[in-house]
């Protein structure tokens, strides 16, 4: 599903350069639910950005679903992102002047789907996250947990191979966090491959595999017994 070999990335800071990723080797199979942990500066966000094709590695190999991701033009990256990836952000990143349904339908718009088809699919995914009744509400009218569920529905809309979640519960309280995690676990149960970047141990524990990064290298990579999140809804 996902193959990364000897991935290096450094950033130029003034005259010196900061070596953020120092040779990452990672392999994720279909249906895995992986937590990437590490303190800030460990390179976990950079790794996620490279996986998410928002950033490009200096060297190394990245293969996603048998496609080598290399020398991407902005256009190609956009198409790959749309086709392969679903993003879930810490701050939800919903478009504030679009209602829930329109937000979910947005990736489908960029796929070039017809309006009817888009709305149908978007409704289906909203229903999946249990917010069909809220479809005409603007993000400002939704609670944090609801917003994140809309964001998840949006990430799912284009039926991606891989879900990338960057601190998906970072802006949520404990109860809502476990709701969201329960939902992500459910998606994983249905076969979705999910990558979660987090620095919370209990969130990581709800995944099936934990990768710990420190100073740009993988310190630990272990399979864990998944703690099931308890939904409160």
């Amino acid at each position: 599903m996902l193959e990364i070999n000897q991935l290096h990335k450094s950033y130029a800071i003034g005259d010196s350069s900061l070596h953020v990723l120092k040779g990452i080797d990672l392999s994720v199979a279909k249906g895995e639910m992986v937590a990437i942990m590490g303190s800030s500066g460990s390179g976990k966000s950079t790794l996620l950005n490279i996986i998410g094709m928002l950033d490009e590695a200096d060297s190394g190999e990245y293969i996603l679903d048998s496609v080598t991701i290399k020398n991407l033009t902005e256009k190609k990256a956009a198409i790959y992102r749309n086709k392969f990836l679903g993003f879930i952000f810490q701050s939800f990143n919903l478009i504030n002047y679009k209602n829930a349904l329109e937000n979910v339908a947005l990736p489908l718009y960029y796929q070039g789907l017809k309006r009817k088809e888009r709305q149908e699919k978007a409704r289906f995914h909203l229903q999946k996250v249990g917010l069909l009744d809220w479809q005409t509400h603007l993000p400002s009218e939704l609670s944090g947990g609801q917003k994140q569920r809309v964001a998840i529905a949006r990430a799912l809309a284009s039926n991606p191979k891989l879900l990338l979640a960057d601190e998906p519960t970072g802006a949520l309280d404990t109860t809502t966090s476990s709701d969201i995690m329960a939902f992500l676990q459910q998606l994983n149960d249905e076969g979705k491959t999910i990558l979660i970047v987090t620095h919370e141990e209990d969130i990581a524990a709800m995944c099936k595999r934990i990768i710990r990064l420190r100073d740009g290298i993988i310190m630990e990579d272990k399979i864990v017994t998944q703690v099931r999140a308890e939904p409160h809804v």
């Binding site: 950005n49 998410g52 928002l54 950033d55 902005e74 256009k75 956009a78 198409i79 992102r81 749309n82 086709k83 993003f87 952000f89 990143n93 478009i95 002047y97 679009k98 947005l106 990736p107 718009y109 960029y110 796929q111 309006r115 949006r154 284009s158």
Partner: protein, 413 residues
């Protein structure tokens, strides 16, 4: 691209983004609105002025010159200076034959005489004319007809009166056609009444056949003055020069004698006015377009700010799979839409201005601005200019929007 323009979602996106901040959108549009308003208003007013001038000149052949014989100022071929110049019909024949570009040569004799109708009378200008006089300055006849060739040939005693003269000589509502008036105690039958135009060389006058004039005043072949009109493609100043030189030659006048003939070149005067109007129109376009460009820049400026504010949103869209082209296209469409919308408002309110101008200054006989208006072509040109400028200015924020990497855009708070 066509499909994109007719896609409901495209316009939904435009609507969403411009309605997000209505006040800002409105203020942005003011510049372009004002530019178009100025352009339409000024062009319309300039047109109104042109129409007003055209109305003053009316049906008068504008490429014409009056030549009035006067007194010589230089001795020549044995003649002393101070000789009175007298033109004759044969001189005019020569002009017609020899000067290039002449369309009509209209001789006139004028005199002042007492005109009597019963107990009513007055002193008026009597003008001996040929029918061709009507070709040069079309008479607005309210009743009857103008002098015709038969009148000339038969030296008929017929008269065409100016409306004001008719009013002085006849009772109110009395039908003058077929009635007789006495000019120098000779009965003339009234055959027509005309309404003077804005330019009347002779003022209000009683027109009688040239031949009848010859007879009653015993003028023979002598003529008072002559009016020459040129064919449209010929320069009237050249015709004036050629005709004067020929006349000097025929009458043994020094070629450089400047005072022998007085003249009034209507063509020259008319050219001055049209030149002025051209200048006005140029100025209008210049001012209007400059304002428009400033307005379009304001739109570009606001869109730059908007794009900056929406950096994160654009980042999200790109993370969701929007290509840079799609982002740019959307911003350019927004720019064009805003300029067009502002332009349309400008055209509409410009139209109101023209209606107001027409209402206040465009009514009545002596209106300053007649039918102030702009042609549809001008409106289309203005709209096309708007689309082009809008597209060009939209490209700046568009490239700005996609110059930020999506990852940096997402990091923006």
């Amino acid at each position: 691209m066509i499909k994109f323009l007719f896609d409901r979602d495209t316009w939904q996106e435009v609507y969403d983004s411009v309605s997000k901040n209505k006040l800002r959108t409105a203020i942005t549009m003011v510049g372009v609105w004002w530019g178009i308003l100025l352009l339409i208003g000024l062009l319309g007013a300039a047109r109104g002025m042109e129409n007003s001038f055209n109305r003053i000149f009316g049906d008068f052949a504008t490429n014409s010159v009056f030549i009035i014989p006067s007194v010589t100022s230089k001795p020549f071929k044995g003649f002393q200076d101070g000789k009175r110049v007298q033109l004759t019909l044969s001189d005019l024949k020569k002009i017609e034959e020899n000067v290039q570009g002449v369309e009509f040569v209209v001789p006139k004799n004028q005199n002042s005489a007492l005109v009597v109708n019963g107990f009513l009378s007055g002193n008026f200008t009597i003008s001996g004319d040929f029918p061709v006089s009507n070709e040069v300055q079309k008479k607005q006849l309210s009743q009857g007809r103008f002098i015709n060739q038969n009148d000339i040939d038969l030296k008929r005693k017929v008269a065409v009166l100016a409306k004001d003269i008719y009013k002085q000589l006849f009772e109110k509502d009395e039908n003058p056609i077929g009635k007789y008036v006495q000019i120098n105690n000779i009965n003339f039958k009234v055959v027509g009444i005309y309404e003077p135009g804005n330019i009347e060389f002779s003022g209000d006058a009683v027109y009688i056949p040239f031949t009848s004039f010859q007879q009653i005043y015993n003028t023979g072949d002598k003529i008072g003055f002559v009016m020459i009109t040129g064919k449209p493609e010929f320069n009237i100043s050249q015709i004036e020069q050629d005709a004067k030189l020929l006349l000097k030659n025929l009458n043994k006048i020094h070629p450089n004698d400047k005072q022998a003939f007085r003249s009034f070149n209507l063509g020259k005067e008319f050219d001055k006015v049209t030149g002025f109007l051209k200048g006005m129109q140029f100025l209008t376009w210049f001012v209007g377009l400059a304002t428009l460009i400033a307005g379009v820049f304001a739109i570009g400026n606001i869109l730059l700010i908007t794009v900056k504010e929406r950096t994160k949103e654009i980042g999200v869209r790109r993370a969701l799979g929007a290509t840079p082209f799609e982002i740019k296209r959307q911003i350019v469409v927004e720019a064009v839409f805003l300029t067009m919308l502002a332009g349309l408002f400008g055209i509409i309110s410009g139209g109101w201005i023209l209606i107001a101008i027409d209402h206040f200054w465009g009514q009545g006989e002596d209106a300053i601005l007649v039918n102030a208006s702009v042609s549809i072509a001008v409106v289309f040109i203005a709209l096309i200019i708007l689309v082009i400028l809008g597209t060009l200015i939209g490209l700046i924020p568009a490239f700005k929007a996609t110059s930020v990497k999506p990852i940096e855009a997402l990091r923006e708070e």
